[in-house]
């Protein structure tokens, strides 16, 4: 604020208010109003004040670094304190820019560390590969220890028992060697970002992410399963493990069916006509909502902006995840039970639309739309198969002027969620103590 800067500069130079007012050709009472930001100034008055204070006029007229002020707001929001004096953030950044930068840098570092801890905790708590590998190693060690003790401590052990235990130790030491080598490779790879990809699901998602979840090869009118074979036989596809190839093929076959039902050019025209409104798009195209969700999430990113999509099966397992800005999706752990994705489980084909905000991720809400869709014909004596779909779009409130609805605060997954006293919590959070 200009007035605050003028007052600060005047006090720094030891100039009296009346003296500065006289120099600028204004009354002391008017200068007082300016200094308390109750009058706007510019032009000659500003130039005269700047001259009297011996500073460049721009130093008085230009506010604090907007990015710095935004960082302060973000730090205040994530601290979840109500005594942060938000209305004085700009003032603080102007008067103490060095301290403000320190605070912003600490906030950024804090965010980075939180994410690192989330990743590591996620891996240690939920990574089935690591759990199985450790179990295998410890079982082999237990067997070797018990068996070798018998050989050493038992007097007059019968030859046939000796032979049997030697054989067992040999077998277990081979198991231990294999298990240790696998663990070492796994842990060595942890430092390598590429090694983050471990499960077939991760491989499949990485394959799709490198294409921004849009596959031009399958958008052609003549596209068919052979094009999927071509993709999987390419360098990226060859790098996938066999289970990941199988998963990717299934996802691409579904993509192909969606693309054939809602061809790209026509669908994009419809989107331009009715906007990012899946219900209207389903109406005008005759497609079901789940297909419209998937199609929107597969559009070229530069044509419609960020679109997130989560799909889960009836067990709640996320089988497809395309994160969106402001809305993260867990890789290994179960997702937050408050997600609209899970709320539609009980009512297939009844869509739900909510404004949601992931606590600790972003101050801005996003728009979440969810629907549970059956994936096969109904039949007696067999379970109904459903897939829950949730589309994530930027919150349109500001753009469309729609009636603002309530915003539901939710999390990513319990282990990394700071919400206290949550009725949906299934395990303690590592952030619960205000980390």
């Amino acid at each position: 604020m200009i007035g605050t800067r003028i007052r600060d500069r005047r006090l720094q130079t030891g100039t009296r208010q009346s003296e500065l007012a006289r120099h600028a050709g204004i009354s002391p009472s008017y200068l007082n109003l300016i200094e308390h930001n109750r009058r706007k100034i510019g032009g000659k008055t500003l130039l005269k004040l700047a001259e009297a204070l011996e500073v460049e006029p721009s130093l008085l007229s230009e506010g604090a670094d907007a990015a710095l002020v935004a960082a302060l707001y973000e730090a205040a929001a994530t601290s979840r304190r109500d005594d942060a004096d938000l209305d004085r953030a700009e003032d603080f950044a102007e008067r103490f820019p060095g301290w403000a930068r320190v605070l912003a840098a600490l906030h950024e570092r804090n965010q980075t560390l939180e994410r690192t801890i989330e990743t590591l905790t996620d891996r240690l708590s939920h990574d089935p590969f690591l759990a199985d590998s450790l179990h295998e190693v410890l079982s082999a060690v237990t067997s070797i220890r018990a068996t070798s003790s018998i050989l050493v401590e038992t007097d007059a052990l019968e030859p046939e028992w000796q032979a049997r235990f030697h054989r067992n130790i040999n077998e277990d030491s081979a198991r231990l060697t294999d298990g240790a080598q696998i663990l070492v490779r796994y842990l060595e790879g942890a430092a390598d970002r590429a090694a983050e990809v471990q499960s077939p699901q991760d491989e499949m998602h990485a394959f799709l992410a490198t294409r921004d979840f849009h596959t031009p090869e399958l958008e052609r009118r003549t596209a068919g399963p052979r094009d999927i074979d071509g993709l999987l036989q390419g360098a990226d596809g060859q790098a996938l493990s066999a289970p990941a190839q199988s998963l990717t093929r299934d996802v691409l076959l579904r993509y192909l069916a969606d693309a054939q039902a809602l061809p790209l050019r026509g669908f994009l025209s419809r989107v331009q006509e009715v906007g990012m409104r899946p219900d209207r798009l389903a109406e005008v195209t005759g497609a079901d909502l789940a297909r419209v969700f998937r199609r929107l999430a597969a559009l070229p990113p530069d044509s419609v902006g960020p679109v997130g999509l989560a799909i889960c099966d009836p067990s709640g397992t996320l089988v497809f995840r395309k994160p969106a800005p402001g809305f993260d999706m867990p890789r290994l752990a179960g997702a937050c039970a408050l997600w609209p994705l899970y709320q539609v489980m009980a009512q297939p084909n009844v869509p739900l639309r909510m404004r949601v905000r992931q606590t600790g991720r972003s101050d801005d809400p996003v728009l979440a739309m969810a629907v549970a869709a059956t994936t096969g014909p109904a039949g007696f004596g067999r379970p109904a198969l459903t897939r829950m779909h949730m589309l994530i779009l930027p919150d349109p409130q500001g753009e469309t002027g729609e009636q603002a609805g309530e915003v539901l605060d939710l999390g990513v997954s319990c282990r990394i969620c700071p919400i206290q006293d949550c009725a949906a919590r299934r395990e303690p959070s590592i952030l619960a103590e205000g980390f």
Partner: protein
């Protein structure tokens, strides 16, 4: 203590651990029976009516913790001593086992002497 004829049921899925533990306990005079999966473990408990159960936590079919809950829910075996074995040593696993009703908890790998001492202690108690 005289262990002759005392029955121990070992529920564990690793064949070489089964062989080693069976050998150790048999040499100490225990009558050892074994079972290697989770889903029908309770039937073997009822069939063998052991004086002590050694139960691994991670079993195929059903977890050791779930089996322990079934044992404690059965009036005939609610007081049978149970020694839990696990490859995981975290505090929360110990607490889970104790809450489920385990009398003692041992983390793999363990020494044969410790195992024998634990078994003797539980049956004596």
């Amino acid at each position: 203590m005289d262990t002759t004829g005392k029955k121990v049921l070992l529920i564990e899925d690793e064949p070489n651990i089964i062989e080693a533990v069976s050998f150790i306990l048999s040499r100490d005079g225990w009558d050892v029976k074994t079972h290697s999966n989770g889903h029908d473990a309770m039937e073997t408990v009822r069939l063998r009516a052991p004086d002590l159960i050694i139960l691994d936590v991670m079993l195929p079919g059903k977890s050791g913790t779930d089996i322990l809950a079934e044992i404690r829910a059965d009036a005939d075996f609610a007081d049978t001593p149970v020694l839990m074995l696990t490859a995981r040593g975290q505090v929360k696993d110990r607490e889970t086992a104790e809450r489920a009703g385990a009398d003692k908890y041992m983390t793999k790998p363990f020494s044969n002497a410790d195992l024998l001492a634990a078994v003797r202690e539980l049956v004596q108690a």
